[in-house]
Symmetry: C3
């Protein structure tokens, strides 16, 4: 779709040159058919050298734009990005075209496979599973019944995706208008599950807003776990049932997250860190230690604190 037409529909003023827009990109990576946006003044340096075709930005930043790049002036660039994002989202789960299913794969006749999807040898897609567009299901991977795999997901070899798991659902991201209305940001990133990953029943893994939500090789996720958009898990991590990660949190290898624990967004967890059940991970932490509590502390400190607190306040006499 052409930029001028999109902006006209959205009632955004624009006097620059028209061009056909393919999608959004980041200031750093966008090409001349893409639109980027400036929402964070830490990125001003990236603005100066962006190769994007156009950038949504505040008026005061226009002078920093390279001459090759058009300005879409906005009082709220993040909101206008959200409003534009729907124009670049393709229709999902289209399944009436060609697929690439190995002769040595098994696909139940009630499973639905999206266009352009590749299912490699030895893979087994069971009844009622719905696989989106341009997905890859690696060798010997099992997709259990009624799993949903959204468009553009890549699943490695020897993975187990237990029944009802949802891989690649839209992340939970909105811009907010002045009147308190939430405007959906269409998520155009994807999910990558590396080899030997297991995903538990009814667990949900959100796609990235841009880029990739990644789960490292040999990582094992239990049932009813939530993994937010743009998270990255290293190899051989463990997440026990009903735990969750908010968006953009990353972790190293062999991290263990206990049941019903949760981490806030944009944190980093070091290699071999362990978290007791119900940990509330409120900050980034170094690896190799065992944490617990909420707010987060070392697990041994949490235990000592609780026991002393209970002893002090919990006796009847007090």
């Amino acid at each position: 779709m052409n930029l001028v037409d999109i902006l006209k529909e959205l009632d955004i003023e624009y006097n620059g040159k028209d061009f056909r827009v393919s999608s959004f990109g980041t200031l750093k990576d966008a090409n001349s058919s893409q639109v980027a946006f400036l929402n964070d003044i830490k990125l001003l340096d990236e603005l100066k050298t962006t190769k994007a075709g156009a950038v949504i930005l505040k008026e005061k930043h226009v002078e920093l734009l390279p001459s090759t790049c058009k300005a879409i002036i906005s009082t709220n660039p993040y909101l206008d990005m959200a409003r534009m994002s729907g124009y670049f989202a393709k229709k999902p789960f289209v399944n009436d075209g060609e697929k690439y299913i190995s002769d040595k794969a098994t696909v139940d006749k009630s499973a639905v496979i999206g266009d352009g999807t590749i299912i490699e040898e030895g893979a087994y897609v069971m009844a009622g599973a719905v696989i989106g567009v341009n997905v890859t299901i690696g060798k010997n991977t099992r997709i259990y019944p009624n799993v949903v795999v959204y468009d553009d997901t890549i699943i490695g070899e020897n993975c187990f995706i237990q029944a009802g798991a949802i891989i690649g659902s839209d992340g939970y991201g909105y811009a907010h208008s002045d009147s308190g209305e939430h405007v959906k940001i269409y998520h155009t990133g994807n999910v990558v599950l590396e080899d030997d990953v297991e995903i538990g029943a009814n667990t949900t893994v959100d796609r990235a807003v841009f880029g990739t939500t990644r789960i490292g090789k040999n990582t094992k996720i239990d049932n009813l776990v939530q993994i937010g958009h743009n998270c990255e898990l290293g190899i051989s991590c463990i997440m026990v049932a009903q735990s969750g990660l908010a968006g953009s949190t990353t972790m190293g290898r062999n991290v263990v997250i206990g049941g019903q624990s949760a981490a806030g967004g944009h944190l980093h967890i070091g290699d071999f860190a362990q978290f007791a059940a119900r940990s509330g991970i409120t900050k980034s932490v170094e690896g190799g230690k065992t944490y617990g509590g909420f707010p987060l502390m070392l697990q041994k400190d949490w235990l000592r604190t609780q026991l002393r607190m209970i002893k002090y306040f919990g006796t009847k006499k007090k």
Copy 2:
């Protein structure tokens, strides 16, 4: 089914006049083909003026009944209501009759649509979705794969229902016999999602026991959230992943509920209230403030309390 036959099967004594019963109703709203019940003495005034065909009630309240209304005498009206409720429940998800699907809607051929259901123009019902009886799916609404929408649900325009979400499941309501047995109360209410609502992957929204569970316009619900029967959410609310609401809790507009938070039942939350992650909402609260902790307090009080408590008890020396 006729009242005398139902009561005979349930071994409930009844000497009144027979009539064909259509369903349960409340004392206030029931008509002459409906049965109501008196479980709460606060409703004695409503009993005196009820237009129900019959009321299940204790013997001592019979004298308050209008002359038009028959008495079904019970030592435990709530339990006998539960035992009767199955007789009024229709067979769900019947799908061999007529549907009303707009020429401009898209319904995947593997989706199953219930009888009497209306799917409006621009709506997109994806693979494996199962839509019940007498449902309305509004204009341009997207139902992602393997979503289940129970009978009688009404979904507005421009909604997104992510994969695996369940809309309209039976609420968790039972009566209890003297011997500790739980007797299912068949839920005959429904769910209404207003326009611009988003429901996350594998989230569950229970139907009302009677009446409606309602989610207001522009409200956005994340993944793996539980919304109990008869809850009512205002416009532009936010509920982050793995949070939950027990039955009959209501909230105003632009309420924000953090991840893994939960509210007890029958509470009210005021406009623009915010709840930090993991809040345990143990009481009704006024709007415009930020709460946290469990039991619930102002978030700043929770933070101060925790920090002081950890400082006091958490040091090694103590």
Copy 3:
């Protein structure tokens, strides 16, 4: 498959006699076509009298083996058991053979029924449900849309399995290599739901590693609950939404588990115990009392402790 071939593929040294292995068994119950393993020195007495065809064990325990039983010597018997377990797992959800569906049962034409499965009279399997191999669905039981029931599950009479629930998914069990890799233990046990059980929407119940995960008669489970492998619930228990049980925890009758509560593994909960919302059940407890908090205590003690703690630390002046 023959033992020698399996061990060769896994690169495990073995000089004993070959035989055709049917499956794993416990030391106590295995027969001569089964392999057992010794992972716990508390079971040394069972080792001495085992009737298993072979046992995986450390070299120092070989001398205790009965003469009828072959030794598979391993430095890590649990890991080698995990590595072997995949050989005994049958291909799941095969559905092109014979089924046994009562003339008086209703099965939606989009539901998929596994081979050897029995669906009794009055049962209603709704659209999109996927039932595995050798399952029994009892009389008048309702399986709502898009439910998945794994192989070998037995469901009693008059049960309600709400939409999206997953019954019999693989438990979360792995052995760990010296280099920190997790090796899947294929779960070959099953799930039994007794009569009058209700399972909420998107709830997950894991199959046992060996043996049975059992939910007692009249027990009612709410939405988004997690029940780990080998748990056993008594009759008429209640588990409210978003609660969870780790593996092998057992409970008596009429236990009530509040919303978002969770229990650790290998615990026992006595009859009529009640747990407030968000209880963290960190130990086995006797019945008939009401508990709360995390770590777990009597609910009245938790309340007193919290109120005093908040009073002491929460005031602004301090």
